[in-house]
């Protein structure tokens, strides 16, 4: 009997407490800085082209093979505007397959891919989450604006290596 009363006291005291529930669709839990959402591509606004060169290193090391990338010659490099000799032609990530492990971000030499804060990607059709380059860059821009993203310091060196 004493045990029951003790338990009742606990529930009674919790009546006076503020509710801790987030009423989800109306109210969102704040996202942590490091939160890993789905990977997106970054946009180099100085030269107005993507950071990605389509080198396919992320494609090779992805544990679920959820991405594809195609490389092409960079027209801006011929004009002398950009340092990148090659640039991404098409890129596709199937978010239905992605397991958000962050390995693609670790292996990228150009700071081109980043884990965004994007996580609410429900769609009606099965293949609607196969995102092409335009959508990935759009999501990337949103992430860059939100978080004041900057490329890491080693990016410049590897760029020079690649272009030399």
């Amino acid at each position: 009997m004493l045990g029951n009363l003790k338990g009742l006291l606990v529930t009674l005291s919790s009546m006076l407490r503020k509710p801790v529930t987030y009423q989800y669709p109306k109210e969102h839990k704040p996202i942590e800085n490091r939160y890993m959402g789905f990977p997106v591509l970054m946009w180099d606004s100085q030269i107005s082209e993507p950071y990605c060169t389509g080198c396919m290193v992320c494609v090779r090391y992805c544990p679920t093979q959820c991405m594809t990338a195609v490389m092409k010659d960079n027209p801006l490099h011929a004009e002398g505007v950009s340092k990148r000799r090659k640039i991404v032609d098409s890129f596709e990530i199937n978010f239905g397959r992605c397991i958000v492990c962050g390995i693609c971000v670790d292996v990228c030499n150009f700071d081109a891919i980043e884990m965004s804060h994007e996580h609410e990607l429900s769609k009606y059709a099965r293949n609607d989450n196969r995102s092409d380059l335009t959508r990935l860059l759009e999501m990337g821009r949103k992430y860059q604006e939100e978080t004041d993203w900057k490329p890491k310091t080693n990016a410049k060196e590897s760029e020079e290596e690649a272009s030399s």
Binding site: G3, E32, I103
Partner: protein
């Protein structure tokens, strides 16, 4: 005439009752075929394999860095413990030294994961018995731990944070501050659970002297972890064969008396207290320095084989790995604690009531992702 009818023996037949795989109390997709005589269980036939993903075979086709993501998904309630044991196996094979700070952060996060796992156990065990409130309270506290994980690792469950040679990146600046306030909240939450459930008369009636596992039986079956310690065998790898930096902390091994469901519950509750004490000590000692020993991304450990074990929330996890010198392991074998603990289910269930089957299964605290792999 009437008297004769009453005295006539009734013909009774055994009935087969199918429990699972879609049963909320089997904690996953576990199926039992129970042969019952009235309310008494006479035979049990467990069926596993509904969640089989072939993780061990998949490991043979992935490079070492990618395998960490597979180990996340074995026991999906204690991801960091799983990651740690795999990384330790590769590090032992490569004879890699890990920075002090990385070791401490690993231990803190692993103990935090142990607390999260045990809190979920307390909640769901309450549900199995019929108490609704503790599950709400425990999920509230577990949510705080998961927010902490989100702040540190970037993910709530599948972290991929512990890497071969250390950890992915250093903890955020306010880590110690947040951990300290989290520990205070956890202690408070745990006391609530203790008061709500542990000595509740109904709870005691449902769990005391139910599903008793003797120490001899537990050892013969190879049971490990809290389920073994509940039977009164003080075996804990963190204490007996200290790995990582566990020999630097002062903590006790809670043991039970007779190994019934209540003991298995209470040992876990006590273990949360010990884990919290380990975290406090580790936070106090946390040194500065590097967090990772740089390695090549495409690791090629030397030829050889290695067996590493560690203490998971559910028991002893072992990883046996053979490397043939290439970038992929030749074979990875996992000794899952849940699977070995689950083997006792037949002996425990026979001659108990159907209503207790759920309680006994719940008290073993299995995770089907690990049983089936």
């Amino acid at each position: 005439m009437v008297d004769q009818d009453i005295n006539k023996k009734l013909d009774t037949v055994q009935m087969m009752v199918n429990m699972g795989p879609q049963h909320p109390s089997t904690h996953g997709v576990f199926r039992m075929v129970l042969a019952v005589d009235g309310e008494r269980i006479v035979d049990v036939e467990p069926h596993i394999g509904y969640l089989h993903r072939g993780s061990e075979k998949l490991c043979e086709g992935e490079i070492y860095v990618q395998i960490v993501t597979l180990f996340d998904r074995l026991d999906y309630l204690s991801n960091l413990n799983n990651e740690m044991v795999f990384c330790r196996a590769v590090e032992k094979l490569m004879e890699l030294e890990i920075p002090e700070r990385a070791e401490y952060i690993r231990v803190i996060l692993c103990e935090l994961n142990r607390v999260a796992s045990h809190l979920l156990f307390i909640g769901t065990f309450g549900l199995d018995v019929g108490a609704m409130t503790p599950s709400m309270y425990m999920f509230r506290d577990r949510e705080k731990i998961q927010s902490m994980f989100e702040a540190v690792t970037g993910a709530r469950m599948m972290h991929n944070y512990i890497r071969i040679g250390g950890i992915k990146n250093d903890v955020p600046d306010d880590f110690i501050h947040r951990m300290k306030s989290l520990i205070v909240e956890l202690k408070k939450g745990l006391e609530e659970a203790d008061k709500l459930l542990s000595f509740n008369e109904i709870f005691l009636a449902r769990t005391k002297n139910i599903g008793t596992m003797s120490a001899k039986m537990a050892i013969e079956y190879g049971v490990s972890g809290p389920s073994l310690r509940a039977s009164g065998v003080p075996i804990d790898i963190r204490k007996d064969h200290p790995y990582s930096i566990y020999d630097r902390f002062d903590f006790g091994i809670p043991i039970g008396e007779i190994g019934d469901c209540w003991d298995r519950y209470y040992v876990r509750l006590e273990e949360v207290r010990q884990s919290i004490s380990i975290m406090e000590q580790a936070l106090y000692q946390l040194p500065d320095g590097d967090t990772i020993t740089p390695t090549r991304f495409l690791l090629r450990p030397p030829k050889g084989e290695v067996y590493v074990r560690g203490e998971n929330p559910r028991g002893e996890i072992g990883v046996y790995m053979i490397s043939d010198g290439t970038d992929k392991p030749y074979r990875v074998k996992v000794r899952p604690p849940s699977f070995c603990n689950l083997m006792t289910i037949k002996d425990l269930l026979i001659d108990t009531y159907v209503a207790d089957a759920v309680v006994i299964l719940g008290s073993l605290d299995i995770v089907l992702g690990e049983v089936d792999r």
